[in-house]
């Protein structure tokens, strides 16, 4: 039985890699163009995947602080204000630790041409007449702490509030268009009577009891709609999946055309390459050595394209905040959050991309070479 001699094997691989690199160098223009095209495809795919994954992470981080159940009142299929006495009724339901009426709403800011979210936090740390604003609001309104913040109230009057500070939040994704204010100011601005809330947030400590609590609410208050955190998470997931799916679909066309180019290049050996394989076999190279060179060739091209594409995508998403994808994947409002996503590199994502790009290309390079390399070396003598 033949024994594998490791140093010789390594030296041989080094020679084969040297030969591969010089082969690639001899067809520099063609290989560089192919690598660049390949890297672009990896860049596009990796950008979308990294971006949606980071957005998903952000969304889940937001949901961590979200109430277990939100109860809304429905009138004729529309979300309506909910009577304040229901807070007490809901808190009596078994499994509910706390019920709290919430006040929030949207305000179209004509000067910024954007929808702002007005919200009364559980414990507003400012005084009446003050607002705490999100960074997006501060940017578009050029409002700094201490400056006036005029708002058009529902009765047509202009209420001048004062900016206390910009909002500190772990995720700018939701806080960017946020305006926090006190309860009396909210009610005055939007004309909400004191016996009504926008909705009611419930705290249910036992996660397993949430569906039961939701069912009870539906039974006791048929005009209400309980929304659980799991349902919100599913909605976020669905929206992000749908949006990323949309972009991936567009990219699929690019991927397909690249696939055709790559297959053509990799599978159709040129007459020159065939001749070269014939010479190598004739001067004593084994089929496996020819294939090793071709595999190295495919691996060098696809691996460098993969790494370049991945690196560019990482910079695009986590350093420059994905300017190419923002309009499609992140636009709930006209106020795009200008934020840096938390950099993460999921091993599953990287290996999926690797399997989708490097492996097929390397195989596409080796298969036709195998066909050429298994012919008898004397073919070169007869050519």
């Amino acid at each position: 039985m033949k024994r594998l001699h490791i140093p010789t094997w390594l030296e041989r691989q080094r020679y084969l890699l040297d030969f591969t690199l010089s082969s690639l160098g001899r067809r520099k223009g063609k290989n560089l163009a192919l690598t660049a095209l390949y890297a672009m495809v990896v860049f596009g795919l990796a950008s979308v995947l990294m971006y949606t994954q980071a957005l998903r992470g952000e969304a889940m981080r937001i949901l961590e602080g979200a109430p277990d159940v939100v109860v809304q009142r429905m009138v004729a299929g529309r979300h309506d204000l909910i009577p304040a006495d229901r807070v007490e009724r809901l808190s009596r339901i078994r499994g509910v630790q706390e019920a709290r009426g919430r006040l929030w709403g949207y305000y179209y800011d004509a000067s910024a041409k954007a929808n702002l979210t007005f919200l009364v936090p559980e414990k507003f740390w400012g005084k009446a007449g003050e607002v705490v604003i999100g960074e997006g609001v501060a940017r578009t309104r050029l409002a700094a702490p201490g400056e006036p913040f005029p708002v058009l109230a529902s009765d047509g009057s202009v209420v001048i509030l004062k900016v206390r500070e910009t909002v500190p939040s772990p995720s700018e994704l939701v806080s960017t268009d946020l305006v926090l204010l006190s309860e009396p100011d909210f009610r005055r601005l939007f004309g909400v009577p004191p016996d009504l809330y926008t909705d009611i947030a419930l705290t249910v400590p036992n996660e397993k009891e949430v569906p039961m609590v939701a069912a009870k609410i539906r039974g006791q208050m048929p005009d209400s709609r309980p929304i659980t955190r799991a349902e919100i998470a599913r909605t976020y997931e669905a929206i992000l999946d749908w949006r990323s799916g949309l972009v991936v679909l567009v990219l699929a066309a690019a991927l397909l055309s690249f696939g055709i180019v790559a297959w053509d290049k990799a599978s159709g050996l040129s007459a020159d390459e065939r001749r070269e394989i014939g010479i190598l076999k004739a001067i004593g190279w084994d089929t496996s050595e020819v294939l090793a060179v071709k595999a190295w060739e495919g691996a060098v091209i696809s691996l460098s394209a993969f790494l370049v594409g991945l690196l560019l995508a990482y910079v695009h998403v986590f350093v420059t905040s994905a300017p190419l994808l923002t309009p499609v994947l992140k636009g709930w409002s006209t106020l795009y959050p200008s934020f840096r996503l938390t950099p993460t590199l999921n091993p599953f994502l990287v290996s999926t991309l690797f399997l989708l790009t490097v492996v097929p290309y390397t195989v596409a390079t080796v298969v036709p070479a195998w066909r050429a390399a298994t012919t008898d070396p004397d073919a070169v003598m007869r050519s």
Partner: protein, 226 residues
Amino acid sequence: MIRLQDVRRVFHQGRPDELVAVDGVSLHIEGAKVTVLRGPSGSGKTSLLALVGCMARPTSGRIHVGDREVTSLPEHFLAEVRRRTFGFVFQQFHLVRGLTALENVMLPAYPLGGSRKALVIRAQGLLDRFGVGSRSRARADWLSGGEAQRVAIARALVNDPQVIVADEPTAHLDSKLSAGFMDLVAALRDEGRTVVIASHDPIVHDSTVVDRVVTMRDGRIVGEEP
């Protein structure tokens, strides 16, 4: 050194375009001698040379290289025999374009591994020996016909083979260069190497360097001198 027993080589066997290139040839090629296979185009000399050099398998018959029967060897072992025992010089020289003369000479040694430094010294030494040492950094496509042939010979010798197999080596050379080639052959024989040449060039088969001329026609041996 090399023994062929009733060897046949058939292309496209069983098809309407079936071609018998080598038809029942038995031949004993002696070591440290120069043997020339002579014959017109299509006589089967290149096919026979390919069989001698383990570049192809016979359709039937047996071939022994030294004491080893090679016809039944798996491809991997046959390649091993090919690169350790034989050095090849082709009609078109078949240097790899884009590589330098030195890299071309080193190519057959790559699958064997070994120190790169030692290989470079050996390859450069061979180029120097054949008078093309100064062209070692020139790309193969920039070499003249005579230079390319010398580089091809250096490449054939890089693994220090016992047998040199050359197919129509003078086909693209003028008379002077052809005579020069035969001088190199004489030197190789004097080193104890076996040389097998397929050629219909009189400069080759009439050369005093040649020990034996085997004449072929229609895939068969029709004459031997002496």
